[in-house]
Symmetry: C2
Subunit: 480 residues, 2 copies
């Protein structure tokens, strides 16, 4: 038994990317699978995903969305119906060609996204305006054969939710698109403590088949952007090719107006890269599977007394509704456990030894700041509640400050290039609205337009590429 | 607007199989998908699946099981490692051969079950006896290219959970196998109100790769058996081929002992076929997404008053923790709504009209018996709680009686054939233990040994096929 936590991780300053994968692997969030670009989401990672799922799912349902499950496989003839959609996804789609020994008559795509199969079902279920709105969501995995993969951020198979809705009018569909983006934003900011920039994508960056794509973009600690969630206004494009029609109030056949929206398990990657530090993961209390861990400290002669008290403590705190884990493993020292729970990001450590028992107190240690404080047993649950809120708010504020400190402005391509060389971050700049300018800026700086934010960033200024007056003030960044 | 519920269903007596699919389709539990043998689980069906998931998931976690997620695709070289396993599944496996335009170097199987891929990961994660037991579960879908399919009961893709555990000793693994079967049994009996016969499968019927398969078998209203859940003791067979070893307490390398266990969305099919009647689905209260539905009854001049009271009622009952839906749709008559909610199986209907308001009461109507009773507003929530328990217990008892009434004994193949011709059901008989006798009985009667029950069925009697003394008393039935 060693007191040393052997699995040290690469410091962020040394190599951010290696730091990230170290945290993923050593906090046992995920492991590489023996299939190209796939990961296994291990229990500590999946527990975070469950917390994300339950939080979002409740918010979706409050707005009338219901869950359903649609097939994994999509016949080629259905999948290829919407031209832009198939063009966007075709290079990434895995195809099933055989079942057992039998060669299939038609190839089946494994879903990269389910607009076509869900739309096909909508066309059967929707007859009248009385059937609208239709609001469904599914939690599932989808597959995209990506060239470069990265655990949680970009993997061949990933867990996500995809919401799909049909509406009577364009206005209602547009409203739903924004409503779901707002839910994502609130969830990410309030629960994940991740500040996000909400806005609309340029045409180049929008979803294959969408009229408009809205996005929430977060800044990681290396200054790169992560697209954390998207909500698409699909117009009636899929409705026309999939024949999703309804008898309207004026007894005329009309096409539905659709939306789709999704977030994936890359949110776990965002949690790591927004809050993590050189000792590992740091979880915001509202999404932490365990809000606090009790580590008992004892020798042979105090073992029973301390473990007994630790058990009682766990039970009483659980009864108060807190999510508490007691680490009573015999094979590890307290020091080893401290390191391990820090690695796993548990917000608060509760140390409990014989002297604490004598003075009827425990020692609380914050994961985010490392601050220690002794708290008397009678005040413990109130103090824990308070501290969890402090940590939650503190993490959000820290991330917000970080983003502000790493947001720059630029007037030329040279400006952007200099910022990217010196320090990655968000770059606010004008944009003339021309696709060619956007392409050349990407070519020369590696940045893309993350979004045209809803938030007012002030006067557009000039387009860095052509120097003409900007139509929009946008945010450029390198992205995951 | 019509007062008639147009979507009548086939009576069970006329054609049980058509009755079943009528209920599936008309209660909107599922719909056929445009992929061979696949269904779409629609929101009312998926809500039942969510209730099943959350109930089982909590029970699994109480025993230390944690959820994880493993890849959908399994490389052929890994999938084919365990000889019996691949032999059992090979004819049913869909193969991915291409991604985009590219032909893959190695074919990838879509998982029919995940023993091989999960075992491959276990072999990396397990080093010492301190890493044991390892207890993981995943909720996912799996695919099996079946020849004949039936909504929920046998579909190409189906939703399920698969638990996989590794243990230090055979005894501990065997104990876990039985523990999980017991959890299935308790859940099915206490929550789904479905009595099940628990026992062990004969070698012919066991899982591909298992040493022993345990099962819970339920009787449907057509007398056929449904295998509702299975739990397998895998021995160290997968451990040997996948190299899942650990350093034991005596510092020797040993193979782990494994289990796997699963239930699928066929439980929704079981709910339909055990409790349903000629008016549709009948849901036991503990698994019903809505325990009661409020149907307001009004004319133009009483509309506001009744709807206001109905809203208040819903809110106050929800605050009491009941799952209540208010059907305030304007486009349907009360009569239409009565029929629809009966079709969907909601346990209790609460009728509320102006005269009820005048006398400060509501009318309760039970879905299972059709019994009506007026209840004063002040006693409503207490009476609802009571009634929900009565319905829950009543459904279970009715199913138990049905099974008893349709269980027979046989001493010869002729006996079994006669029973099957006259009336399907469970047949208790002896069995000599010989594979050939089991095969010939199947050949001649269409029945299989559902299990050798744990429950003592008395003296074994003679084997119906060979006439020799039975080793076991077993249950024969035709099965889904």
């Amino acid at each position: 038994m060693s007191d040393k936590f052997v699995e040290a991780i690469t410091p962020r300053e040394e190599n951010f990317s290696r730091w990230y994968t170290d945290v993923v692997i050593k906090a046992q969030l995920a492991d590489y699978a023996p299939i190209r670009g796939c990961i296994v989401v291990r229990p500590p990672g999946f527990a975070i995903w469950e917390a994300i799922q339950s939080g979002l799912d409740a918010r979706f349902k409050e707005t009338g969305v219901q869950n359903a499950y649609f097939p994994l496989l999509i016949p080629e003839s259905i999948f290829t119906r919407e031209a832009e959609h198939i063009e966007g996804f075709a290079p990434e789609v895995p195809w099933v060609t055989h079942a057992g020994e039998e060669e299939l008559q038609e190839r089946l795509a494994i879903r990269p996204s389910s607009e076509t199969i869900i739309g096909t079902m909508f066309s059967r279920w929707i007859q009248s305006y009385r059937d609208l709105p239709m609001l469904v969501n599914q939690w599932c995995s989808v597959l995209r054969w990506e060239k470069a993969t990265h655990p949680f951020l970009r993997t061949t198979e990933f867990l996500w939710q995809e919401g799909h809705t049909c509406h009577e009018t364009e206005a209602e569909a547009r409203e739903r698109t924004i409503q779901m983006l707002r839910i994502y934003r609130e969830f990410m900011e309030e629960v994940l403590a991740i500040p996000v920039l909400a806005g609309i994508k340029s045409d180049r960056e929008k979803f294959a088949g969408a009229v408009e794509t809205y996005t929430v973009e977060a800044m990681m600690q290396d200054g790169r952007a992560l697209q954390a969630g998207t909500s698409h206004y699909l117009g009636d494009g899929f409705a026309r090719v999939l024949d999703i029609k309804f008898l309207g109030r004026e007894s005329e056949l009309e096409y539905v107006h659709q939306t789709s929206w999704g977030v994936s398990h890359r949110l776990i990657g965002a949690l790591i890269m927004v809050h993590g530090d050189d000792r590992g993961l740091v979880l915001p209390p509202r999404v932490a599977p365990n809000q606090a861990v009790i580590v008992p400290i004892y020798r042979d002669d105090t073992r029973d007394r301390v473990l007994g008290a630790a058990n009682d403590l766990r039970e009483s705190l659980r009864e108060e509704g807190l999510r508490i884990h007691l680490d009573d493993r015999e094979e590890h020292t307290p020091g080893w456990k401290f390191n391990e729970w820090e690695m796993r990001g548990v917000p608060i450590r509760i140390e409990l030894g014989p002297r604490d028992l004598d003075s009827d107190q425990v020692m609380l240690v914050r994961r985010d700041t490392g601050a220690k404080e002794p708290v008397s047993r009678s005040k413990l649950s109130a103090r824990l509640e308070e501290l969890l809120e402090e940590i939650q708010a503190g993490l959000f504020q820290r991330a917000l400050d970080y983003r502000a400190d790493n947001t720059y402005t630029a007037e030329s391509v040279e400006d952007i290039r200099t910022i990217m060389e010196r320090n990655r971050g968000f770059v606010e700049a004008g944009w003339c609205g021309d696709d060619a300018c956007e392409a050349s800026i990407k070519e020369e700086t590696g940045t893309t337009i993350r979004c045209i934010p809803f938030e007012d960033l002030g006067e557009p200024g000039v387009c860095p590429a052509c120097g003409k007056p900007g139509k929009h003030r946008v945010v450029f960044a390198r992205a995951y």
